[in-house]
Symmetry: C2
Amino acid sequence: MTVFDEEAAQAAQARQAQLTKPPGSLGRLEDLAIFMAGWQGRDRPRLDRVQALVFAGNHGVVAQGITPFPAEVTAAMVQNFQAGGAAINQLCRVAGADLRVVPLDLDRPTADFTQGPALDPAEVREAMTKGADAVDPTADALILGEMGIGNSTVSAALAAATLGGRAEDWVGPGTGAQGEMLAAKTRVVTEGLARHAPSTAAETLAAFGGREQAAICGAILQARALRIPVVLDGFICTAAAAVLTRDDPAALSHCLIGHESAEPGHRRLIAGLAMQPVLSLEMRLGEGSGAAVALLVLRAALECHNGMATFAEAGIG
Amino acid sequence: MTVFDEEAAQAAQARQAQLTKPPGSLGRLEDLAIFMAGWQGRDRPRLDRVQALVFAGNHGVVAQGITPFPAEVTAAMVQNFQAGGAAINQLCRVAGADLRVVPLDLDRPTADFTQGPALDPAEVREAMTKGADAVDPTADALILGEMGIGNSTVSAALAAATLGGRAEDWVGPGTGAQGEMLAAKTRVVTEGLARHAPSTAAETLAAFGGREQAAICGAILQARALRIPVVLDGFICTAAAAVLTRDDPAALSHCLIGHESAEPGHRRLIAGLAMQPVLSLEMRLGEGSGAAVALLVLRAALECHNGMATFAEAGIG
């Protein structure tokens, strides 16, 4: 597997120490520049071309009354993405990312995971391949997002299967479930966890779905092979990514978590992965929206890293 | 005093509720759009023209051995700003702000506040007027920053005089003071607090200085009169701004705190002002750098607010 380029990272760190600022005073902007250097394998990392991929899928488990929106909203939102009307469209424009939306068999929801496996192994492979194939090999960074009515329930199951804990630890309101609907989410996840005992990433994706989660996993693996740093979005995107750590604990080393979502399970997920979000803006929209805002911070980090004068250049010290 | 336009803010809030997303799911991006609407007095706020003002001054108290950098670095960094080599230059470029650097009598440091008042009342008025006059009346937002070797010591004194507490509560490493130097900062602030008992904003600025702090206050008051929302930077910028609350507890209602600095006193200052920072990136550079990164988030907020489709426009729901 592609590894972090320590030499490029050390060269970037040495450059940071020479720039006209007290050492360390750019905080996480310095860390982000060094992270990008190590994964891109160049001491002056760049963001000339950034791709945003939003995968969309539908979920049989919505039949259990676990979401306030009907499944048709997934396709309607895909149309909204394609028409340029969603949050992610505006955020990709302002952050300078090329948005590609990949709907995955929206008219063919996964099976209800309380009744059996959500996907068969071939369907998992197909969705992972679609995710991998969607990655632009010339991208300097990849933003990942998703859309899928019901997928916060799926994500709670994926997170519990991967990191342990009870359904209650991972279930939250998602797009707005409360009261009985929230109780139904917890019940459904509890039933799913009792029914399935997957071990590998592929088995976990087959057990609970969905296609957009498998595509996210495929894209992350492909980006790793291509040395493309990845910015994950919120709870749903991170839960999908976390599944990969079942096969390799270091599978997400080239990934950043763009933001800490307001969805309660995200904080636990981030802690479980021992990662640190770039932003915390109480966002909980999905679509890659938090990752796109984080891309702005990455741009700020690289502008400083590449554009600042050194003390020697400025004749100081 | 100019007040928040509740009508524009309510119109902005009503628009947020119609956009194609679960209600509230853009979190602080929604709050920021509504804040901007209220202060700009328009339901579709804009950021076509953003000004960044960086005020620079020198401080007699540096004679007390309270900073690892010599006072000459203030002028050298002003030159670096003017040559485009500093962090703030890169950040203003990426965030779309017009940077103006305003050096304030760099060859005439304030008096050492342990020996007497740092400035006389006329000097305070002069610096406040320079700050006010520097504000571009056509700006849609104003970013504030500062440069001044020794000014984290001055800021600790301003914060303690304004919000109470002991010197130890407000003194921190600044650009890198440790050990005896850190102890000297605390001693100097303790002596200053014992010597001076100012009540008003002007008296507080006269007691401790500095010129860049007075200019920040003048710029904030001018921006308020012009309905220009302000983004404050870190500890030093916020400590200067806080002084204005001595005259009017609501003096900073049109201001955001761009980020929570790694300088320990900033968290206490933010809490004392009952404000909430936009970002927390462990930055501690000053220059307006954290405020400029926050401007990127403001841009993201307004792009979503102004550019997203409503549910009706997208034919959803």
